[in-house]
């Protein structure tokens, strides 16, 4: 049984991902820079994951498969970062108190490693889910 790790995901901005998204939302470059989760070293060890490892990120709202990346920041176990994108938004609930902003920066989710043959969630899959 693969390890599971609970994290709080904060969505943040990245200039390279922003640049890629301006050029095209449908490019591999945008996917590679968006379908990412940045984790603390300790969480990477707990998941037995290396950089580039595909992880299933799941919560009550939805799930996506993204690549893991080790954070360059100091220690922040339990805290993960994703760049704002349709991938991170799969995990953001739209059920909020009236007048409140959705929790874009406070997303609870569970991480687990995936089978080798699983692919990073494609933008076309996300589009199909939205239009279903």
């Amino acid at each position: 049984m693969a390890a599971e790790v609970q994290v709080t995901i904060v969505t943040v901005r990245d200039i390279f991902q922003d640049e890629a998204g301006r050029k095209s939302r449908f490019s591999d470059e945008y996917k590679n820079l968006s379908a990412l989760i940045i984790l603390d070293k300790q969480d990477m060890i707990r998941l037995e994951a290396k950089d580039g490892q595909k992880l299933l990120v799941k919560n009550d709202v939805g799930s996506v498969i993204v690549a893991a990346r080790t954070s360059e920041d100091d220690m922040h176990p339990g805290l993960a970062f994703m760049y704002n994108s349709p991938w991170s938004n799969q995990l953001v609930s739209d059920v909020v108190c009236e007048g409140s902003i959705p929790e874009f920066k406070n997303i609870k989710a569970t991480l687990s490693t995936t089978e080798e043959n699983m692919n990073i969630t494609r933008i076309s899959e996300l589009q199909a889910r939205m239009q279903s």
Partner: protein, 407 residues
């Protein structure tokens, strides 16, 4: 000189060489702005109905037909449109009895309301450059989101009263959940807060300013921060989504902190608006309706409330027009899903998740590059711009006017 509409700094010193249908050389654009300019040459939209290419006239006619037959349409976006287009949009909303909302209801709205009503003191970015000796980036990372913020205004330039600038006269402070690119530049005064911990941190600053022992944070560092703030002659705070999302209904606490700082010295606040004309939309809506966003014209008069926010209206509307925005990328899945089920009209220069899901796509000219107009910078300064590339494409304003005429 060209203006960059890539973010709400609206940089005015861009030198672009346009030859044979391409931008061959551009000076002074940051990486983000460069991406914005280059995007003019990829994935442009064409007029479409149900995924089939049609003439512009039929797309406009179809859009008018959808809006006319809808009982409660939503008009959403507006942060990437000129003031002229926004004004045309408000007229259209009045005519249709539609709901009108912009991206600010997901972002800076709750702070912007307080800035525009004067509850929180503000200033221009030029004032910051000329006078500020302390800049606080709170839940914002301008190096990533507004790359030239620090170099043009808030930290590195020389100003009227700040000739020795960052070397001797300016301090920058970062409060954030992560050591961002900006935090690395301000590492002497970087304060890490936990997600949702901003209110607690504000209480701690208020405590040290009142000479009490703070409850959170490294006490020595907090006291040092307190004395830095007290020594400040002219300070500026730049709150980003990090602070706003974390505070939400506790925005009053920030108001109190700013008031307290102003009892001691001068502190101004400029919200880190993302899109180039989000503030313009808020100002124009306030002027025309009395509210900055989330307005319904259903009964004729403008009514404001959270039930008229795009997030709520996506679920109650029966059609939506989205202009210059990609909510299917940027909003929570549930809202994206609700929008995608509606007959959607997307006015956008470029392909997006929203144009892909739209029943009607109307291509528009890119403001700043292909069409001129007026926008409001994040600090409230109005900036007028002229196009630098010739195009046959209609501007947002022209498209909205034509839709209105057809209704």
């Amino acid at each position: 000189m060209a203006i960059c509409t890539g973010c709400s700094l609206l940089c005015e010193d861009i030198v672009a060489t346009y030859e044979n249908g391409a931008l061959t050389h551009v000076k002074n654009l940051c990486r983000k702005g460069h991406g914005h300019f280059q995007a003019a040459f990829t994935e442009r939209t064409v007029p479409m109905i149900d995924g089939e290419q049609v003439t512009l006239d039929s797309a406009i006619a179809k859009a008018a037909e959808i809006l006319k037959s809808a009982k409660s349409p939503l008009l959403y976006g507006w942060s990437n449109s000129t003031l002229e287009a926004q004004a045309a949009g408000i007229k259209l909303a009045e005519k249709l009895g539609a709901t009108m909302d912009g991206t600010s209801s997901f972002c800076q709205g709750i702070l912007m309301e307080r800035i525009l009503s004067g509850k929180i003191p503000s200033c221009t970015l030029d004032d910051v450059r000329n006078y500020a000796d302390t800049s606080i980036f709170w839940g914002s990372d301008p190096s990533s989101s507004h790359p030239r913020h620090l170099s043009r205004f808030s930290y590195y330039p020389r100003g009227e009263k700040r000739q020795k600038s960052y070397e001797e006269e300016r301090t920058c402070i970062v409060v954030d959940v992560r050591k961002s690119a900006t935090a690395r530049l301000c590492s002497n005064y970087y304060f890490r807060v936990a997600p949702g911990g901003d209110a607690e941190f504000m209480e701690a600053i208020l405590a040290v300013l009142e000479g009490k022992i703070p409850k959170v944070g490294d006490k020595k560092k907090m006291i040092e921060l307190g004395s830095r703030l007290k020594k400040t002659k002219w300070g500026a705070i730049f709150p980003g989504p990090g602070m706003i999302y974390s505070l939400q209904d506790k925005m009053e606490l920030f108001e109190r902190l700013v008031a307290k700082l102003n009892e001691i010295t001068t502190f101004k606040v400029i919200p880190m608006v993302g899109h180039y004309n989000m503030r313009g939309f808020n100002e124009l809506m306030l002027e025309k309706t009395g509210f900055i966003n989330s307005v319904s014209f259903k009964g004729g008069a403008a009514v404001h409330g959270p039930e008229h926010s795009a997030m709520a209206a996506a679920k109650t509307s029966d059609a939506a027009l989205v202009i210059g925005s990609d909510p299917l990328s940027a909003l929570p899945f549930g809202t994206a899903h609700a929008l995608a089920r509606l007959p959607l009209i997307a006015i956008d220069p470029r392909r997006s998740l929203t144009t892909d899901a739209a029943k009607v796509v109307i291509p528009s000219a890119i403001s700043g590059l292909e069409t001129g107009g007026t926008a409001v910078r994040m600090d409230g300064v109005k900036i007028k711009f002229e196009p630098i590339i010739d195009t046959n494409l209609l501007s947002d304003e022209q498209i909205l006017t034509r839709i209105m005429e057809a209704i």
